[in-house]
């Protein structure tokens, strides 16, 4: 027992100052009771193994005693029953333990996935810009699953080992204290090596996971651009680059595995070696060849067989722990990557406790930008350079300027969708200045994004309580009566991934209907007519007149046709007002 406790102490000290370990422990807390139950059940399953070994040894002894005579079946009934009962008991307890472990792991995974979804789609605060687009999907789909083996294998393994190996050791000591001493002496050889090898593996596992992540991002990018790459004749070259990356990742993986297998091999060597030593010792004692002072030299066949088959059983939990050790290193590496997804939000969360959710159709706010500067990572020149804007309520400001002057960025900052690097973006409501909040904004971007689902579902996002008539009325009030009638399935028209299935003009009109349904007091329009022909532009223009009534409007545009809408016009050039 002491050897086992030493092992556990070592393991506990091992990771105490590791932030990933603390994080993992924190995450696993929700499933802890189930996981502990799993450990206890699996440990108790070893009692079944002890019964099985007892039955087997007993039966062999009976067989030996009847060496020269017929063995009655009745004499075998009890040993055989004991053997079968032992195996059955072990099966049932293991199944129960596995169920408990799976339940615990499921609780943990669900809680984590929910947190990632909440981080990826924050309801308040500025939208995240530093999180890679595919990272949350990858975290939910891949990295969370990397914790499963650790949760079901490693976490309960400590309890299993303590209880299970303890039970077997006690049984061993009952039949031969010397063999019990032997296996106990072999136990301390486990932790030292596990610790050393485990630490080495973690760095390599981390490098491998990072490599795979980078590689996946490249792969996704490559697949998105496949039609373009083929069209440019660049596909073969790109595929070659991918293959080179792939080989590099494979090389790293191989390095990790070499270390990982080494530790498993060491544990196996210890188990098989101890088995060989015990078998030789028992054989010599049975032959009566062994006469060493202090070492017991009397043993019957039943005791010898009993201890022999229990030696692997004693080490089995330690072997599982060794396997779990790598699951743990994998989990720790995944935890760091998950951490970057989960953490970033905390730093950028707004201090405001309760975001002000204005009622639908509330009074238009004043918009104030005070010396706003925005820098994009990797770019030297700021996208916006100390811009100050003051837009009175219910007025319309048009932002013009050449492409790339920072018009879209200015709108995003004013809408509270992205936080400025310096300066403040404020909305003034009834004389009270509050931080810009997208909850007050209707946003029509370029190109308009529609979600997978039906046309009705996309419109209902803006006002979930609206009836079909409300939706059609809204379209009609903007002069888009023919929009639905042009589509054979009307409101039931299915829209594919990213809203495909409609022309860009139709998408834009839908986005405007959505803005009207939303009825927010601040309207941000980013190139609302960029893809439209003059006829459609005229329709949008008259729709915008309706929309702009009693709303504060920010409008980024090139089109001279839209300028009459504006009360004020500013022109941006290289992030500055010209």
């Amino acid at each position: 027992m002491s050897g086992t406790s030493v092992l556990l102490e070592e393991l506990a000290v091992d990771r105490a100052d590791d932030p990933a370990a603390a994080r993992l422990k924190d995450w696993a807390a929700i499933g802890r009771p189930e996981l502990r139950r799993a450990g206890i059940l699996r440990g108790a399953a070893q009692s079944g193994t002890v019964l099985w070994a007892g039955g087997l040894a007993w039966g062999a002894q009976r067989g030996l005693s009847a060496l020269h005579g017929e063995l009655p079946v009745a004499a075998l009934a009890l040993p055989v029953l004991l053997t079968a009962a032992g195996v059955a008991l072990r099966s049932v307890l293991l199944a129960a333990g596995d169920t408990a472990a799976a339940r615990g792991a499921r609780d943990v995974r669900e809680a984590l996935r929910r947190r990632i979804i909440e981080t990826a789609l924050p309801v308040s605060g500025p939208a995240r810009t530093d999180l890679e687009e595919a990272a949350p999907a990858r975290a939910v789909d891949g990295e969370v699953d990397q914790l499963t083996d650790w949760l079901t294998g490693y976490v309960p393994a400590r309890t299993t080992m303590l209880l299970g190996s303890g039970l077997v050791l006690a049984a061993l000591a009952c039949r031969s204290w010397f063999v019990a001493l032997l296996v106990l002496a072999a136990t301390p050889l486990l932790p030292v090596n596990l610790k050393v090898i485990g630490l080495g593996a973690q760095g390599a596992v981390h490098a491998q996971l990072t490599g795979i992540r980078t590689h996946q991002a490249r792969l996704l990018d490559h697949l998105r651009g496949l039609p373009t790459l083929v069209g440019l004749g660049a596909h073969d070259e790109a595929a070659r680059v991918l293959e080179r990356d792939d080989r590099e990742v494979a090389r790293r993986t191989e390095k990790v595995l070499r270390i990982a297998f080494l530790s498993t091999a060491w544990v196996e060597l210890l188990i098989t070696g101890t088995l060989a030593v015990v078998a030789t010792y028992c054989g010599l004692v049975l032959l009566d060849y062994l006469h060493v002072p202090g070492v017991p030299d009397r043993m019957d066949l039943s005791a010898a067989l009993f201890v022999l088959v229990l030696v692997p059983a004693y080490f089995a939990p330690a072997r599982d722990l060794a396997a779990g050790y790598h699951a743990r290193a994998q989990a720790a590496a995944a935890a760091e990557l998950l951490g970057t997804v989960l953490d970033a939000r905390a730093e950028r969360d707004l201090p405001s406790v309760a975001p002000l959710r204005p009622a639908r159709g509330s009074a238009p706010p004043e918009v104030r930008l005070a010396a706003v500067t925005v820098r994009h990572p990797g770019r030297v020149a700021p996208a916006l350079d100390r811009i100050s804007v003051r837009l009175a309520p219910a007025r319309c400001l048009a932002v013009t300027g050449p492409s790339g002057a920072g018009k879209s960025t200015l709108l995003a900052v004013a809408a509270g969708l992205s936080a400025p690097s310096e300066g403040h973006a404020l909305h003034v409501l009834d004389g009270r200045a509050v931080p810009a909040d997208p909850g007050r904004v209707s946003w029509v971007g370029q190109p308009a994004h529609l979600l997978p689902g039906t046309l009705r579902e996309n419109l209902l996002l803006a006002r979930p309580t609206a009836s079909d008539d409300d939706l059609l009325d809204a379209a009609a009030s903007l002069g888009f009566e023919d929009l639905m009638t042009a589509l054979p399935q009307g409101l039931d028209t299915p829209l594919g991934e990213r809203g495909t299935g409609l022309s860009s003009g139709q998408s834009q009109q839908l986005a405007l209907v959505r803005a009207l349904l939303r009825d927010a007091p601040l309207l941000c329009l980013d190139e609302p007519t960029a893809h439209l022909d003059p006829a459609a532009e005229q329709r949008v223009l008259s729709a915008l007149r309706t929309l702009a009534r009693d709303r504060t409007v920010l409008l980024a545009t090139h089109s001279p046709a839209l300028l009459p809408l504006a009360d004020e016009v500013i022109t941006l050039h290289h992030g500055r007002v010209r």
């Binding site: 596909h235 078998a279 909850g439 990213r498 986005a511």
Partner: protein, 562 residues
């Protein structure tokens, strides 16, 4: 067990020798493990018998040496087997993924568009890894377990036929149990895979549309649908794991029956069979059952690989061997191409200089027409031909030698400006790249500027112009531009079009423009295709019209079918 597709894929990608070596090592290691336990038991029982019979001629040295050798051999063999199997896995993964990534280019543009976000990525990552994992995770352990079990069974049949027969019956029951559990697990896993793909699509889509969702206050709904998808994944996977656990429980309970049968039968036959052999038999049996416990898991892995291979099949079609022929004077022509949304047709030959204009309101099919000309969207057979062959039947790379299409929102690699330009001209020097940028009015953009994922670090107009600069570097005989000036201010747009024609004097350019942008051209178009619905009356005559000014080699004619 639909593993055949997986095997077919593996045969082409896996190094066969390594596969065989790994399997043999696994078999040897498992046999060593089972023999270690059996021989040890036999050794102890023999020692007891020898002492009882006071037999002094029996030497303990060899059996005890055998036990130690087996112990060492098992460890070494296992380590080697793992290394070899996993090297096979990694090599196979790389080979398969490269081949399938190339194969993805053979999909039609429509398929590509539909799959590019979630589906194709899954195919090339987890599906490929599942198939490539077959040798290490399934093939080797399965062969080892089955071989060991068979050898143990043969040994039993040879030693005690009755015992062998009894054990055969129990094993048959065990296999039935595994099969049943497997069938149930499989159904649940199929549901789980669908749910996973749905979860990914919801998350990716919501992230892409986040700005709108946020302003619409619709983020909670998006969260809700993601959470629902997540719950579906978990419950399906739970059901699958449960079926697997039950299968394992059944198998273990059968093991209890099997071992009891061995013990009774073997010991009752004791006078005819030495007790030492009986002990050895029983321990071998126990080892065999322990190996068979893995069967449910292995069989499920095998099916997963089969499913994955099935999904990969469209990507794995054999590469056509015919080398792409380079047409000496490639001519792209349309013969009676029906124009979208109308009853008229377009007949035209695209060669030589001079722009062909395609105009019409939004949704009138300008992009579709350009897609058909580039072979990305299927046109009726024989209506768009490249040197006499329907363009959408040609391999995309053959078409690419003649035609380059710049889509309205074309893809940019998440790399630098220079890297994006070099896709079209791999060996171009910096001066060439700068000249191309200058032609599209991006001279101020440094070559080393990162464009960000999807080009998002650039403005909309910059993205568009960079994509055009890339196409200019390719110097294609036919260049198709979808609304190149959208999102640009008027002076920039005018300069862009003027520089474009100057840079590509030989190229036949087809431009889709909106009516209000027609004035941006510094030269009259040789031909105009006007697309439009029947309801158009403000800016032109109803129906598609081709204005043929009879310049150069271009001749376009569209006639109303009435």
């Amino acid at each position: 067990m639909n593993g055949t597709g997986a095997w077919r894929l593996l045969r082409t990608a896996a190094p066969r020798r390594a596969l065989l070596t790994g399997t043999l090592l696994a078999v040897a290691a498992e046999l060593g493990g089972a023999a270690l336990l059996g021989v040890s038991g036999w050794f102890l029982a023999t020692c007891a018998v020898v002492t009882l019979q006071a037999n002094t001629t029996w030497s303990w040295m060899y059996p005890s040496g055998a036990v130690r050798t087996l112990a060492l051999a098992r460890t070494g063999l296992r380590y080697l087997e793992r290394l070899v199997s996993h090297r096979t896995l990694l090599t196979t993964t790389v080979a398969l993924r490269t081949r399938l990534a190339r194969g993805a280019a053979r999909l039609t543009p429509r398929e590509l568009r539909g799959q590019r976000d979630g589906t194709l990525l899954t195919r090339l990552t987890s599906d490929v890894e599942t198939v490539a994992g077959l040798p290490a995770n399934v093939c080797a352990p399965l062969t080892a377990a089955v071989t060991t079990a068979c050898l143990v069974e043969i040994l039993l049949l040879w030693a005690t036929p009755l015992l062998g027969a009894a054990e055969l019956v129990v094993w048959a029951a065990g296999l039935t149990c595994v099969r049943q559990a497997h069938r149930r697990t499989r159904a649940h896993l199929r549901t789980a895979a669908d749910a996973r793909s749905a979860l990914r699509t919801v998350l990716l889509g919501s992230r892409a549309a986040f700005d709108e969702l946020r302003c619409l206050d619709a983020v909670p709904q998006a969260r809700e649908s993601a959470t629902t998808a997540m719950a579906a994944v978990e419950s399906a996977e739970w059901a699958a794991a449960r079926a697997e656990r039950l299968g394992r429980l059944g198998l273990r309970l059968l093991a209890a029956a099997g071992q009891a049968a061995v013990l009774v039968t073997a010991l009752c036959a004791a006078p005819r069979q030495p007790v030492a052999v009986v002990v050895g038999d029983v321990l071998l049996m126990a080892a065999g059952w322990e190996l068979l416990e893995r069967l449910p898991r292995l069989v499920n892995l095998l099916s997963e690989a089969g499913d994955a291979a099935g999904r990969l099949a469209p990507l794995a079609a054999e590469e056509p061997l015919a080398s792409p022929r380079r047409p000496t004077a490639p001519v792209l022509a349309t013969v009676g191409l029906p124009l979208p949304g109308s009853s008229a047709a377009l007949t035209s030959t695209l060669s030589g200089a001079g722009p062909l204009l395609v105009t019409g309101p939004n949704g009138s099919g300008k992009s579709t027409l350009l897609g058909q000309l580039a072979g990305r969207i299927p046109a009726p057979r024989g209506t768009v031909v490249l040197d006499g062959t329907p363009v959408h039947e040609l391999p995309a790379r053959v078409v690419a030698e003649t035609v380059t299409l710049v889509e309205a929102d074309d893809w940019l690699a998440d790399d630098t400006v220079a890297a994006n330009l070099r896709q079209a001209a791999p060996s171009a020097d910096a001066a060439t790249l700068r000249a191309a940028l200058e032609a599209v009015g991006l001279a101020a953009l440094p070559l080393g500027t990162p464009v960000g994922p999807g080009g998002r670090l650039l403005s909309h107009g910059q993205r568009r112009r960079l994509a055009i600069a890339r196409a200019v570097l390719r110097r294609p005989p036919v260049l198709l531009l979808d609304e190149p000036t959208a999102g640009l201010d008027r002076p920039t747009a005018e300069a862009l079009l003027t520089a474009l024609f100057r840079a590509l004097p030989e190229t036949s350019v087809v431009i889709a423009l909106q009516d209000q942008d027609l004035g941006l051209l510094d030269r009259p178009p040789v031909s105009v295709v006007h697309l439009g619905g029947e309801d158009r009356d403000a800016t032109g005559p109803a129906g598609p019209v081709a204005v043929d000014r009879g310049r150069g080699a271009v001749r376009a004619a569209a006639a109303r079918a009435s």
